[in-house]
């Protein structure tokens, strides 16, 4: 069944088509809300909310953008604005592997896990900007619109987030002459 047909049938309440549409896009939706949330419980709430919003809006989908883009934006909005960020449990710094695998080692799974865990341990503001910019490819102008901040603030948060990630992922590098480099 084509995507257009699937969307049309799901929009008319067809349970099989709805399930299939969910099956196709659930991992992508869950990934964005999970990384924005930083914890599983919040992500589950937001993912459900995103799907309910998407199905509510589905009859109005006109195909003017790709469905994946449309759904992605709903997921982001659900995560950022659909529900107030609830008070987090006190979170401790995530224990990351002391030494990450070498980038050419081929052990990408470990690297991905480390990145996701490092994301979880970022402060909410930094994580939102880093996920939206570096993971999801939003521009600073788009992020500013979504978060209600200036593009400059988005940039500033991004650079701080990258620096924090760097420290979380690896110990400071030793300079050739033995001195520690790049102090913040």
């Amino acid at each position: 069944m084509s995507e257009i047909e699937l969307i049309k049938r799901a929009g008319s309440g067809d349970p099989q088509a709805s399930r299939e549409l969910y099956r196709r896009y659930a991992p992508r939706v869950y990934a964005i809300v999970r990384r924005l949330a930083g914890d599983d419980a919040l992500a589950e709430d937001w993912a459900q909310e995103a799907w309910v919003r998407a199905f509510r809006a589905l009859p109005g989908f006109r195909g003017e953008s790709r469905f994946s883009t449309w759904l992605h934006r709903i997921a982001v909005n659900s995560a950022l604005h659909g529900r107030r960020w609830r008070d987090r449990r006190t979170r401790h710094e995530v224990a990351l592997p002391a030494v990450l695998p070498q980038r050419d080692s081929g052990d990408r799974t470990v690297l991905r896990l480390a990145l996701d865990r490092a994301l979880d341990s970022l402060p909410d503001g930094m994580r939102r900007v880093l996920v939206l910019h570096d993971v999801e490819g939003y521009t600073h102008e788009e992020i500013a619109g979504l978060l209600g901040v200036t593009p400059g603030t988005s940039k500033s948060q991004l650079f701080k987030a990258r620096a924090r990630m760097r420290k979380l992922l690896r110990p400071p590098r030793e300079a050739p002459n033995g001195e520690e480099v790049c102090h913040i």
Partner: protein, 269 residues
């Protein structure tokens, strides 16, 4: 040498360096390496894969969508499958329960051969011939048993063969044909459950003089209880008290079945 800060290097991932920063990078291999690592981090973040949602997410979403009327009630394979499994379980329990009664009665007292033949015929084949008339059984004096007290209904079906004769859908199911709809499956499930309860009650009655510790009577009573709690859970599936009653009754029923099996010197589990 004053090195670039991490934040400066983070900015250089996206933006061109100032003249001063470019000069530093030209001279400092460590900061160049840091910049390369940070670029690699950004690339790795962009390549992060999708994440599978937790099990049961669709169920939760589906419940909300159904409640809001955004999707029609699904007759999913999973739901129908679950009903079929319950139907099959009911039929198996029907057969096991009847066989248990026979085995237990054999161990306790000599059973009337006609009775035994009648009871053995029904579960063994599913297409057995019509059993002897009810009067041949000569049930115990009409005293009220625990099973009767607990059972909220009268036996609706005289026997499995009679049920099969009057219900082509049930016969078709036993021949391997699946019900055509969720509603048909539920109807068959209810009928098979009634058959089982009916058989269990009759076994208890046939034994006569049931004492308080009689496992057959207890099994009949527990089956009646689980039937009631199952119906109640259909109306309030999340009610913790009802769930507690139901789970307890199921556990007791299973324990009683094992007790009966042990007594019969047989093992079905």
């Amino acid at each position: 040498m004053s090195h670039l800060t991490f934040e400066t290097i983070a900015r250089l991932v996206d933006e061109p360096p100032s003249t001063e920063d470019a000069a530093h990078l030209e001279a400092c291999t460590a900061c160049r390496a840091e910049l390369e690592d940070m670029r690699a981090d950004a690339e790795a973040l962009a390549a992060l894969p999708p994440i599978e949602p937790p099990d049961g997410e669709w169920r939760a979403v589906e419940r909300r969508l159904t409640r809001e009327g955004l999707i029609r009630r699904a007759v999913t394979g999973g739901t129908t499958g679950a009903v079929l499994i319950r139907m099959a379980a009911a039929l198996v329990l029907f057969m096991l329960g009847t066989a248990a009664g026979i085995a237990w009665m054999d161990g306790r007292q000599p059973a009337d051969s006609a009775t035994r033949d009648q009871m053995a015929a029904a579960p063994s084949s599913g297409t057995a011939t019509e059993p002897p008339a009810e009067t041949a059984v000569q049930p115990a004096p009409p005293q009220r048993t625990a099973a009767e007290s607990a059972a909220p209904y009268s036996p609706a079906v005289a026997s499995l063969p009679a049920a099969l004769a009057s219900n082509p859908q049930l016969a078709a199911f036993l021949d391997g044909e699946e019900p055509r709809s969720y509603e048909a499956a539920m109807q068959l499930y209810r009928e098979t459950e009634m058959l089982y309860l009916d058989a269990l009650t009759r076994v208890a009655q046939m034994n006569g003089g049931i004492d308080a510790g009689d496992p057959i009577a207890r099994l009949a009573a527990l089956e009646a209880i689980t039937s009631i709690t199952r119906t109640a859970l259909g109306q309030a599936p999340a009610d913790p008290v009802l769930n507690g009653y139901h789970v307890t009754a199921l556990a007791q029923r299973d324990a009683t079945l094992r007790q009966i099996a042990d007594r019969a010197g047989d093992s079905w589990f």
